[in-house]
Symmetry: none
Subunit: 134 residues, 4 copies
DNA sequence: GTGGTCTAGACCACA
DNA sequence: GTGGTCTAGACCACC
């Protein structure tokens, strides 16, 4: 797993860590049960405060993406096979999607182009079904 | 134009205002040249401070979405028909799209379902081509 | 004399009128004694309030560029031949020049390029000496 | 870095702050990566409100001159060496240059004198090339 | 009437 | 410690 963050971005660092991990899971680079680096280790790699990493892990835990074990550290928890999509997840997600697509429209991106980019991005991810068959 | 904002959201109010306006433009409810409510008026409607609306309009102005005329207030500026998509717009946008789609994947949304929601949302918008033919 | 103003610019209209007139004088299109259009006429041409034109003329009068005659309206007053540069003009002007050149430098314009653009712009103007010989 | 502002000027304070910082960068007094004083600190130094400094920094950020880091505050971002001049920068800049030079002409400044002052001012700045060789 | 500027003070998020 | 957000109220510039 190779995470890169931008200390100068206006996206909070803890958010970037969380985003990168979510992306890595989506790409199938880490899967259920796989361990995440320890907070101190990750903090040292990025030369940031380990509290920041902690906050990212907290966020992931709260989102149900990882579970934190006292001895084995953080491991990926959710496997999409285990059931239907999270209830309550869709609302906020759709809101953000709507804003994002509206922006693209307003800035002149053609609808076909938008859909193309969506599918292109998704093709880099593993859908739940694919993961089962792997 | 009927904007609704949520004062209790963790999304900054000025950002919500900006998002709602971008969506309204994408839906074609307001078009090039249409005036936006005055900052003080909108602030009164939402029962918020006019500086907050000011910040939202500033953001939109900076994004090239509106222009502010001393006498007639803010009016919609950009019409996606008038040219190619904004150069430099796609970068940050794709990053956000990737994160959003990764989240959906991790939370178990099927890829087809994701694409379906994207197209459904887009169908509520007016693509540049449609606007020409209207 | 063909003035064009942009009602949507963030530069105040009265300032634009003043700027365009100053430029026209610099280019030699209007010279000492030449009359300016009446405020009401100019206001009608631009479809703006005549008070705005009034303000522009006031500014020009205050700067010593025109004189206003009750019956013949506004006429160009200053002829650079009549003497040395205005005392007191240079200070504010140099300040603005310094800021403008600093901006160019910071945004990566080469010094030679900057000088080239200055001379190119000046070549479109008539220096005082040239005006004498015309 | 020694900034001076004039509270009685008709130039907005936030604009003056922005101008002084741009000049300081042009002179090479502050360079890429150098930190700017914190908004509240600078505000205290000038005995003004920190929001005013905030606005100046916002403007600089928007112009791409600085970047704002959550922890270390604002630092100079752009180094003109790193690439060609900003595309799209020249337009508004040339307009302002034209007005400024027209004023000089109208007020009787000789063209040679104008060029002399431009080059004199520029000689106080570090051109991109000079910075490389330093 | 409109937006723009500045002040003042509060609270929160980030690191 | 830093910047970001929101509120509140004043005054000014423009049209």
């Amino acid at each position: 797993m190779n995470l890169t963050i931008d200390l100068d971005s206006d996206v909070p660092i803890y958010q970037q860590i969380r985003d990168r991990i979510v992306e890595a899971i989506a790409r199938g680079e880490i899967a259920e049960g796989d361990p995440l680096p320890s907070t101190r280790r990750l903090a040292a790699d990025f030369a940031i405060n380990f509290h920041t990493v902690n906050k990212a892990y907290d966020l992931l835990k709260q989102e149900g993406v990882i579970r934190v074990n006292r001895k084995s550290g953080a491991v990926i928890r959710r496997d999409p096979r285990t059931g239907p999509p999270d209830p309550g997840f869709a609302e906020g997600w759709e809101d953000r999607l709507r804003v994002l697509l509206a922006e693209a429209t307003v800035h002149g991106l053609d609808q076909d182009e938008v859909v193309r980019r969506c599918t292109a991005t998704l093709s880099g991810f593993r859908s739940p079904a694919e993961r089962v068959s792997r």
